[in-house]
Amino acid sequence: MSRPELQAPPEIYYGDSEAIKYTNNTRIQQIQAEMTYRALELLNLPPDEPAFLLDIGCGSGLSGEILDEEGYLWTGVDIAPSMLEVALEREVEGDLFLQDIGQGFGFRPGSFDGAISPRPSSISVIQWLLNAETSHPTSSPPHRLTRFFTALHSALRNPSRAVLQFYPTSDDQVQLITSIAQKAGFGGGVVVDYPNSNKARKVYLCLFVGGGGAAQVPQGLDGEAAEEAGARAKFEKRRQREVRKERSGKKKAAKGKEWILKKKDLYRRRGKEDVPRDSKYTGRKRKTVF
């Protein structure tokens, strides 16, 4: 399957049916939840202080629900009206805006304590920006990225952080995005979780506003992806055990006529009632009806 950002612009890709499909997919919900928690962790907000966050590409509010649960107030922006409609139906607490982040946005300086963009399923907000939709000079990717990062930088408080997830397709892409972010005044860099796993690998752009350059880019998670165990299908262990047993040949063969006769004999000797008679049909397979 080709990448969604190559198929159509986001407001078209996320039409009504795609928006509902996306929101009701439990796998996506689960990944979204994990990513939101990880993004909040990377944001490193001061504990016990209610914060006001910006959710970029909030979509149907899956991540917003987590923010609600965690007690944050938030504002979401997204470009797909269908997704926002779903968010309205789900009655999330945050304020929603229909906005193209590539056009910049008008939040006053210092409005937010942090910005997150945890996006599952191989599409991220920044990547939509990398595609020029028209030949107009204002829609060239570097132009759009510059506007986005400049607007974001000014909307964030000093000091604060922005954690944006993305799925880079090439090193050049990472280079382009980070260099533009730096020009806009951000510090920080790229955090890679589970760099050795194809499946669990996640790339976060962790940007700092202010902080005097003392802030270190957080360490990516390493080792075996912890989520793997929890993400398995139910009863998988039992099924695996059975498969193993079968392979090792320990499983008994199907019970034949001999075994049945022996059992019946045993029952009769023990004086059990209602033991069926032996006949030529004993232990035979039934005819297939159809």
Binding site: E49, P50, G94, F97, L98, Q99, D100, Q103, R108, S111
Partner: protein, 123 residues
């Protein structure tokens, strides 16, 4: 679902519109009241970030004039409750926001403001 808290953070972002572009004027608004959880710490922390004059003006535009013209010295419970109501419980469902400088209209429909700009307005 625009609340006055976000309205208070919102300025016009049309190309070249850099002065007198705040606050956006609310027009033909329909409001809905939805209760929200009262969070005193959040409010206390947020007051310095508010443009008080703009908030009072916006509150008048949606028909609520319970707020004093200045932030009182003493932040008592009653005042915070009132502020909580204005900031977080008044939702603007329909209407529009107009930039006082360039007169760009941002329509609000079913609670979602449309902040998209036309090609020539992008900075």
């Amino acid at each position: 679902m625009v609340r006055l808290i976000t309205h208070n953070l919102l300025a016009c972002h049309v190309k070249g519109c850099t002065s007198n572009n705040f606050p956006l004027k609310l027009q033909d608004v329909q409001i809905a009241l939805r209760e929200a959880e009262f969070n005193e710490d959040f409010l206390r922390g947020f007051i310095p970030r508010l443009e008080w004059g703009a908030l009072v003006q916006a509150a008048r535009e949606v028909g609520d004039d319970s707020l004093p013209a200045e932030v009182p010295e003493m932040l008592d419970d009653e005042f915070l409750k009132q502020l909580h109501h204005v900031l977080l419980e008044i939702h603007i469902d329909e209407g529009s926001m107009v930039c006082p400088n360039c007169k760009h209209v941002y329509p609000i429909s079913s609670g979602i403001p449309n902040m998209l700009l036309a090609e020539h307005e992008i900075g």
